[in-house]
Symmetry: C2
Subunit: 221 residues, 2 copies
């Protein structure tokens, strides 16, 4: 007659934390930020709602951890595409640009998720720190690639100019990312990548056409 509890197995702390973070992100992305309630998150993670408070001091802490996780994933995907290996600096830059404008980085849910977080950046110092770090990391990576490409072309840029180049190119990527995510059907296949490469090339006065994107009109086979 005793109502039986759900049986369970213990898991390492990291695993549980990750499960909760993934569940949070999935709910926010699929249904919207408001859907990420402690109950829904716990259910999605397959554990009881008490676990949230067991692994995070407060729900806000969990949200913060999820934000960091998401941004790390987003910049990581672009980073990886440029790769430490392979090709000229120009080609690496082109690959970086193309990666930033192609799935999985271009993704409506990823943007929705990002937007759902961003308002916290203005209010929570910890969130702000994550934002600042992520942004800087991405831009620095871009600046390094730009620097290398310009040096390769025999036109090394002084630091101040390199910084301005990086900010401008970063803006192009951010802007196209936004538009590509929010209105995917407004652009033809490969169009975003093409425009991104052209714009970055124009800003740097550097030819990137032949370099990276397999989806542009491409060269002769």
């Amino acid at each position: 007659m005793t109502e039986t509890r759900k049986t369970f197995t213990r898991a390492p702390a990291g695993e549980r934390r990750e499960a909760l973070i993934r569940a949070t992100l999935a709910l926010m992305a699929e249904v919207g930020p408001a859907a990420a309630t402690v109950r829904a998150i716990a259910e999605r993670a397959g554990i009881s709602q008490g676990m949230i408070r067991h692994y995070f001091q407060t729900k806000e802490d969990l949200i913060g951890a999820a934000y960091e996780w998401h941004m790390r994933g987003l910049t990581g995907a672009t980073d990886a595409a440029a790769g430490p290996v392979g090709g000229s600096a120009r080609q690496q830059l082109a690959r970086f640009v193309a990666a930033a404008l192609t799935p999985p980085v271009i993704d409506a849910q990823a943007m929705s998720l990002w937007a759902g977080f961003i308002h916290m950046v203005l209010r929570d110092p910890r969130m702000r720190a994550v934002h600042e770090r992520t942004y800087r990391h991405f831009r620095d990576r871009l600046q390094d690639l730009i620097d290398a490409a310009l040096r390769e072309a025999g036109r090394p840029a002084p630091p101040a100019l390199a910084r301005r180049h990086a900010i401008a190119c970063n803006a192009v990527l951010d802007g196209l990312w936004l538009e590509g995510c929010a209105l995917p059907e407004a652009f033809g296949p490969g169009e975003l990548t093409g425009i991104g490469l052209t714009a970055v090339a124009a800003i740097l006065d550097l030819d990137l056409a032949a370099a990276g994107a397999p989806s542009t009109k491409a060269g002769t086979a």
Copy 2:
């Protein structure tokens, strides 16, 4: 002994609707999206909470109306700055760029507000329609200015190219807008405008330096 009710005066419907919309935006911007509850909104508007349901079928309707209002204000501010009057096409374009990268368009709360809305764009068709219309309007305006500036320079662009130019320049503005709003202290005074003008100029292969922004190093008085 009878507890006395709050006295009130009747107001035209439009006025009440506007008051509710303004209150919604103010709360979302200042405190965050979650703070815009029916009770808080009504209090801020100085009326009782029943009025929300009296003027809007549901809270979601109010949010939708507020979104439309906000976006109209944002694009309107940039539009106005370029102005129907005055100067060469090049100068108008430069003013447009500068306006998009200067307060009140560059504003942390405006961006936070925008982000708070954006996740609804993916789910609510009406919100999506507003987003699409706003985006298109802004980009078309930009494309017209670009078109005129290129014609003026004796290099008219075929439609397909003009479209690509508009998309790229729009991305620059969007990206710089984001970064300028989210990390205002990361840029020096006038730096955003300077970078924006330079980038747009590079993309269009057009000199905009002397044209528009009073905050760049500027000409002799």
